[in-house]
Symmetry: C2
Subunit: 427 residues, 2 copies
């Protein structure tokens, strides 16, 4: 029977039982982590051969003869641009390979639009306010960038097939100070949603009050499928092609990296955009750097080779990740299907399970879990300013702990959900 249907006495008894269970778990002094989307050690091991690919001076020569050990090549090695073009679903000529973090490339891009404008537009800093569409639940580090520059963040609901496009269209058309939108279009962080073709086309073609409206297309999980069979993999329409078709070729900037392909923090990041946007951004990039780390670019090219190589490598990741996602779904189903008011998604890729707890309990759940030694992403982190008005959404990150630890952490989590919900119902 769902908790909401229980009478006062039943709730009280159940609360006693669950409290007892919680106390026992706490007594075990656990130290488990389901907070951030970090690959497990077993996944990192997959990329160890990459580290030994450059050992002689000859190994360090790029295909055009460039000695990768020396200065130069602002936009990245040709072969690295080709590799990252596969990840970004774009042409190598439209790709800039950067440093170790797509986050930094996104920060810089927003910073440069704000400071200098884009393609000759008025710099965004000259407006009395800048507004930005933030899909919720979403990625906290995206929201942190727009918050840092003082943008007004407008939350719009993200569903299974993408954002609520009626809302997005209404807002984008309403005010020239609405300058953009954060998108994680495939296996979205945290819901796992992939935008439908219709959503991509509507984003590309919608009328915007601002000529310099920009879609920040963070395709962080482009190749991060959980299943090997193509029928079980999400497909995403290319935003670049859609924008060109719609006559808005400069509306998007794509980002991606190998952080969760090879090594987080030691991978390579890249962006792709229209020739006009790339030329514009290079004006700033050429002032701020000489080039990314070409040695690491070359290591990646030699290791991953091409799209086929990336896909083969990602299947090895999937073999490690899949059992964890299956475990999350099984444990939540077993533990919570009778409780009611809880829902979660079963993504086919990415790094997260988005969990919706009974309204008004998320903060309490995360606090209870922490007290019992299980670190979760902060409740509310998936909303701008960390403020979930429903206090409901929690991001579960199952990748880092080994399966046994994950199982233990989920037991604690489920217990905390029950306890917080019971506390709410008892009042």
């Amino acid at each position: 029977m769902a908790y909401a249907d229980l009478n006062e006495n039943e709730l009280s008894n159940l609360h006693e039982t669950v409290s007892h269970e919680y106390a026992e778990m706490k007594a075990r002094n656990l130290s488990l982590n389901m907070a951030r989307g970090k690959p497990a050690a077993a996944q990192l091991d997959l990329s160890m051969p990459m580290l030994s690919l450059l050992s002689s001076a000859d190994d360090c020569i790029a295909e055009d003869g460039t000695d990768c050990r020396n200065y130069g090549v602002l936009e990245g090695l040709p072969e690295a641009r080709r590799l990252m073009a596969e990840l970004l679903d774009d042409e190598p000529d439209n790709v800039i390979v950067g440093g170790n973090a797509s986050l930094t490339m996104m920060f810089d891009t927003v910073s440069w639009f704000w400071t200098f404008g884009t393609l000759g537009s008025k710099p965004w800093r000259e407006y009395d306010s800048v507004k930005w569409i933030c899909l919720v639940p979403g990625y906290d580090r995206h929201f942190a960038i727009t918050e840092h520059f003082g943008f007004e963040m407008i939350p719009v609901e993200l569903g299974a097939g993408g954002p609520n496009m009626d809302e997005v269209e209404r807002i984008a058309a309403s005010d020239e100070r609405v300058k953009g939108i954060w998108c994680v279009p495939k296996y979205s962080n945290p819901s796992g949603a992939t935008y439908s073709d219709e959503v991509v086309r509507r984003l590309a073609s919608m009328p915007c009050a601002a000529d310099d409206f920009r879609i920040i297309w963070d395709n962080a999980y482009a190749v991060h499928h959980l299943f090997d069979d193509e029928a079980d993999q999400d497909q995403l329409l290319d935003i670049g092609a859609a924008c060109r078709e719609a006559g808005n070729p400069d509306r998007y900037v794509k980002f991606g990296s190998t952080s969760k392909v090879t090594l987080p923090g030691a991978g390579i990041a890249a962006m792709a955009a229209s020739p006009a946007n790339i030329a514009d951004l290079k004006k700033h990039l050429t002032i701020s750097t000489i080039s990314g780390d070409k040695m690491n670019q070359l290591r990646h090219v030699k290791f991953l080779r091409d799209g086929t190589g990336i896909a083969a490598h990602m299947r090895k990741h999937a073999a490690i990740m899949r059992p964890k996602f299956e475990l999350v779904d099984r444990k939540l189903t077993e533990g919570l299907s009778d409780v009611g008011e809880c829902s979660w998604l079963r993504p086919r890729g990415g790094y997260f399970v988005s969990f919706d707890a009974p309204e008004g309990t998320a903060k309490r759940i995360v606090a209870l879990a922490k007290e019992a030694g299980v670190v979760m992403t902060g409740a509310g982190a998936t909303w701008p300013h960390g403020n979930d008005p429903h206090d409901s959404n929690i991001r579960i990150a199952p990748s880092l702990p080994p399966v046994e630890e994950l199982e233990e952490a989920l037991d604690v989590f489920i217990c905390c959900v029950k306890l917080a919900y019971l506390e709410k119902l008892i009042g």
Copy 2:
């Protein structure tokens, strides 16, 4: 006899001879480069063993147990901060290890001061104009950053012992919109000058109209001596200690990198500043990145170990660089001592020889050299906006070409100096 003392007939004859010599050189279809401060291949070879230091998963564990293959550690590994503290003459706690380029860290620092202010000061963008002291001859990429943000750049002469401090003090005290100064305090780019203790103390203690005046202390050549004997090495007073002593502890931000210690573009960069400045800058850094490349940090620590290890490694660089600098001085002396109106410095470290040609001939010399297949740094590049009012200073970068090629390139250069000067005298 100096060219200036020759009569019209003698000049004309000499012009014919030198023109003929130049034509012969041009006919050789050379392709030589003395343009940028790139290490030679032999220098890059010195760091090859570094590339094989991380091959097993165990190799990738930092001293505090951090798995360097995964996300985290914003400010850099403790051992990497310790290593870079030796290079920056500071405490590890005051050090942030960044990505592959100190240029990027400087760009970001200026950008963040401009956008957000520093230690609570008014953001620089809110002033009607921002002014900046640019020592000349200086580093073109520094000037490019302040130009990019629209700062008014005020050139001040840099002599053998550092800047003309009377001028620097006068300007810094004159206007609260004067917000800082670019400094390459040791083996300066391009003159090779090292600031005297008195200069460092005056920079640290001078009254500034702006409370948030900042010395950008780009100690790019901190350990880049040409000679092994300490008596033949320049010593630099620590700007941090000097600023603390003077009661201006937050006035400086230091930068450095291993770009010319290990591999350019594949090294590690770092900054050091007062605890207050570091805390302030980290507020922005934590939004723009998760961490630098810790794998590369660990590689560097394992390879260079500490200050003693760095010094030993730099002696190997010096053995390659020293003959080239000696060759430059010998060739210029042999070729130009009779010509007159030419002067150059004999630096004891760094990457450049600063050459002053007869006034009004530098652009012509560089153009002539280019026509004859020898690429030099653009004339004027050592001045803000690339505009040397004397059209005299040329930066010679002897590091990249092998000795035989360098000799050939210098022959061309000397011929071009003579020809341009003769053209000027003949009128």
